[in-house]
C-alpha cells in the first residue's frame, strides 16, 4: 500500500461533527461554554442543592486560587448560561469536555466528553424527547431502534429518565444488536432551572439530555479503553 498522505480526525471530533449535523436538521444550534466554570452555572442554577454530595471534593475539581469556580462536571452548565442570555424557543446542542475527580481505568477518565441537548418551548413533551432520541440513536448506529425510558434522577430535571436503546439491522455492529443498552440520561427541565434563568415555567417547558460521547464511540467502534482517546497515540486515531 502507499504511504499515508492524509491525516485522521479524532473519533470524538468526528462524532461531534456528526451529532451536530443530526440535530441541525431539527434546528438545534451548536453552543459552547468555558471548561473552567462558575459554581453558579455548574451547580446553583441547575437546582443542585448547596450541600449536595456531587459538589464534594471527591467528585469535583476545584481551583486553588479561584474559590467560585470549578472544572465543569457537566455540559449542562451551558444550559444555564444559554437560557440566561436567550429567550425561548431554544434548541441547542452542547458538546464539550467535562471533568470528574475520579480514579481512571478502562471505563473511567477524569476528563471526558459529553453532549448536552436542550429544547425549551411552549409545548414540548416526554413523547417528543423520546422521538428525538430514537431518531438520534438510529442515525448514529445506522439501524432501527427502540428506546425505553426508565425512572432516574438528576437534580435539573423532573421527571428524569435513564434511556436504553435496542438496535436492529444489518449495519449495526453485531455486538450491539438486539439487546438493551443503557445509553444516556434525560428528562423534562425542572421548573426551578427555568426559573433560575428567568424563564417562566408556567409558560415554557423543556427537555434536556446528556450523552457521554466517549461511551458512544467506544460502543460504536468497539474501543476497549477510554484512556486511548487522550493518550495522543496515533495507533488509535489513525484507525478512524
Amino acid at each position: 500500500m502507499k504511504k499515508e498522505t492524509q491525516g485522521h480526525i479524532h473519533p470524538i471530533s468526528q462524532t461531534i461533527t456528526e451529532i451536530n449535523a443530526l440535530f441541525a436538521e431539527f434546528g438545534f444550534t451548536f453552543a459552547d461554554g468555558p471548561e473552567r466554570e462558575y459554581i453558579k452555572y455548574n451547580f446553583d442554577m441547575l437546582n443542585v442543592p448547596k450541600d449536595h454530595p456531587s459538589r464534594d471534593m471527591q467528585d469535583t475539581f476545584y481551583l486553588k486560587n479561584i474559590p467560585d469556580m470549578v472544572m465543569r462536571t457537566q455540559t449542562s452548565a451551558v444550559q444555564a448560561r444559554y437560557m440566561e442570555s436567550h429567550t425561548p424557543p431554544i434548541r441547542i446542542i452542547v458538546p464539550g469536555k467535562v471533568f470528574r475527580n475520579e480514579a481512571t481505568d478502562a471505563t473511567h477518565e477524569a476528563q471526558f466528553y459529553q453532549v448536552e441537548g436542550l429544547m425549551v418551548d411552549t409545548a414540548t413533551s416526554v413523547a417528543e424527547l423520546k422521538g428525538l432520541l430514537r431518531y438520534f440513536v438510529e442515525r448514529l448506529f445506522h439501524g432501527k431502534a427502540e428506546v425505553r425510558f426508565r425512572p432516574s434522577f438528576f437534580p435539573f430535571v423532573e421527571p428524569g429518565f435513564e434511556v436504553d436503546m435496542k438496535l436492529t439491522g444489518e449495519s449495526v455492529p453485531e455486538k450491539l444488536r438486539d439487546r438493551w443498552i443503557e445509553i444516556l440520561g434525560a428528562g423534562m427541565v425542572h421548573p426551578n432551572v427555568l426559573r433560575a434563568a428567568n424563564i417562566d415555567p408556567e409558560i415554557y417547558r423543556g427537555f434536556a439530555f446528556g450523552v457521554g460521547i466517549d461511551r458512544i464511540v467506544m460502543l460504536r467502534h468497539g474501543v476497549d479503553d477510554i484512556r486511548h482517546f487522550y493518550s495522543g497515540d496515533l495507533r488509535v486515531v489513525n484507525q478512524f
Binding site: 500500500m1 502507499k2 504511504k3 499515508e4 492524509q6 491525516g7 485522521h8 480526525i9 479524532h10 471530533s13 451536530n20 449535523a21 441541525a24 436538521e25 431539527f26 434546528g27 444550534t29 451548536f30 453552543a31 468555558p34 471548561e35 473552567r36 454530595p53 464534594d56 475539581f61 476545584y62 481551583l63 486553588k64 486560587n65 424557543p89 469536555k97 477524569a110 429544547m119 409545548a123 413533551s125 416526554v126 413523547a127 417528543e128 423520546k130 422521538g131 428525538l132 425505553r148 425512572p151 434522577f153 423532573e158 421527571p159 428524569g160 435513564e162 423534562m188 421548573p191 460504536r220 467502534h221 474501543v223 495522543g232 497515540d233 496515533l234 495507533r235 488509535v236 486515531v237 489513525n238
Partner: protein
Amino acid sequence: MLISRNWLQRFFDAPLPEPETLAQLLTTHSWEIDEVVHKPEFDDVVLDVKVLPDKSAWALSHRGVATEISAITGIPLTHDPLGKRDISLVASDSLSVSVDTEAVDRYILAKIEGVSIGPSPKWLQSLLLSLGQRSINNVVDATNYVLLSIGQPTHVFDADKMNGVRVRSAYEGERIHTLGGGEYTLTTQDTVIADSNTDVPLALAGVKGGVAAEVSDATRAIYIESAHFDAVRTRKTAGRHNLRTDASVRYENGVVSELARIGVRECVELILEIAGGTCVGYTEVTAENTPSKIQPASVSCTFEKLNSILGTEVPRDVVRDIFTKLTYAYTEDAYSFTIVPPFERTDLVIPEDLIEEVSRFYGESHIPAKLPEKVSLPNIHKGFYCMEKIRNTLVAQGFSEVYTSSFREKDIVPIKNALASDKGYLRSVLRENIKDALKKNAPHTDLLGVSEIRMFEIGTVFEEGREYISVAIGVCGVSGYSPKKHESILNDALVAVSSALGTTFDAVRSDKNDGVVEFSFTELVEKLPDHGTYDLYLPREIISYVPFSPYPSMSRDVSFWTPVTVSSERAEELIQSVLDSLCVRVTFVDEYRQDDKVSYAFRLVFQAGDRTLTDTEVNARAETVYEAIRGEGWTPR
C-alpha cells in the same frame, strides 16, 4: 442496598411474585436492580437495589421497597409499621436526656429493664445473615432489624454503664473508641452522645456506637436511642472519619424526623418479644417547631398539564388507580387532581413530582415516540465552523488530530484537589503535550505507514484570569525534528490554514526550534466574519477498532528488479501472498525505471500481539519474500 425477598413478604399477606419478576418490575417502575442472588442456605433471594437519590429519604428500607411493590402490583401492604404513627410507650421523666446542639431535632431514649442478652431467634438471624449482616445478639440484632426494616437507625446502650444522655458537639481532639475496634479523633463539627454525668462520649452521633456503654452478655438494663440527626452534619462526620455506616447513610439521605418515634416503638416491641424485660418508659426531646406528627402539604396537578408534559392521554381512572394503590389521599375535579402525600414522602412537592409518579407507574411504554417539528437552523456557530475548517485542512496536509490531558505536572493554574502530583495544574499551552506525543509516536512511523509523525490538537488552555482555545501543530521524524526536513511541512500547514480561513495570523514557536507551532484559535476567530452554512455531512461506515499490540514493530526493506510489464500492484500482491499475519503492513517505498527494467522497493513491517519479535523471525520472512521474487525470475537488488 440489599433486600431480602422473605423480609419483603413480611409486609404482605398475599404471596409476592417470583424474584426475577420483582426485579423486572422494580427496574421498569422504580429503580435499577443490580443483581438477583439466590441464597438457598437461607431459602431466600436477595435483590441488590439501586434506590435513586431523590427517593432515598424513604426507600432505603424493606418497607420502602415494599410500598413500591404494592403500588406496582396492587398487592395490599397489610403489615405496615408506618400505618400506626403513635409511639405507644409510656412517657417517663426518670430518664436524664439533654440536648445541647442543633445537630439533632428529635432525641428519644427508652429504657428496658430485665432483658436477657442471648442469640436472636432463627428467623431474625436468617434475615440478617442472608443480607450479609452479622448476627451479634438479640438486642443489637433488633436495632439492625429496625434499621433495615423501616430505615430508622436505633442504638442500644448498657444502662448500667452510664447515667443519662447529653447530646453535644464534640471537643476538638476528643477521642472515641467505637464498636468494632475503631478509634477516632473528633472535631467540634462532630456530635457525640455523652454521659450526662461523666461527659464520656458513648457514641458518635448518627454514625456509630462507642465501647464505653457497649452491651455485653451480662447486660440487664438497656437504653434504646432513636433520634433524628442532621443530614449534612452526619454526612460530613461520616466523610471526615471515613466511616460511612448503615445509620449515617439513612440520615444523610434525609429520613424524616417523625420516623424516630416509630423506630423506638418498633425496636422496644421487638426487644421485649425476643429478649424479655419491661419497658419502664421513654423520654423525648425535640427542637422547637418539630411536630410530633408531620402534616404534609397537598399537591395538585391539572390533567391538561399531566398529559401535555407526557405527550399522551392518560385515562383519568388510571391516574386515580395509581394513587389509590399508593394509598395516598386522592381527590379530583373537572380539571385537576390533588393528593396528600404520606408523611415520609418528602419528594412529592410540585406538580412535576406527581407527573413522575404517573409516568413511572402507568409505564413509559404508553408514551409514544414523536419527533419534534423541524425548524430551520437559526445560526451557524462561527467557532465550530472554523474549527472544522482547520481540522479538514490539516488532515488534508497529512496531520492527525490528537486529544491530550488538560492537566500538567507544573504550569500556571494550580488545582486544589489534584488526582496525582503530576496532574496538579491546568495546561497553559498545548505544545508541551504535543512535544511529548510526537516523541511517543516517533517509533511508530513504519507501523503507521507515514514518512514522519504529523499531528495537531485543538483544545482549551488556561491562565489565571482567562481560558481560550489554542491550536498546536507538530511534526517529527523517527529520530526527532530536523529543521531541514520538517520546517517546510510546518510552514505549508500554516499557509494552508491561513488560506482556508482567509486571514493571516501569528504562530508561536517554542524557544528551542523543536517542531511545534501554536496559535490562539479564539483570537483568530474573533477577526473572522460569520458563515452561512456548515459543510454537508456525509455519514461514514462504522469502523471497527482493532486493539494495537503493545510490542514494538520491526521493519525490513526489500528491493528488486522486474521487467517493465510487472506493475507495482502485482509485485505487492506477490509479497503479500507469501507473508503470514506477523507482517502487519507492506508499504510501497519507491520505483525507478532503467531501460526495460523497473526497480521496486517495499518496506515490510512486522509485529506480534503477544511478544517482541526476534531478528531471526523477521529475517526468515524477508528471505521468504526474496525466494518468491527469485521464483518469478525477478532479481533482488
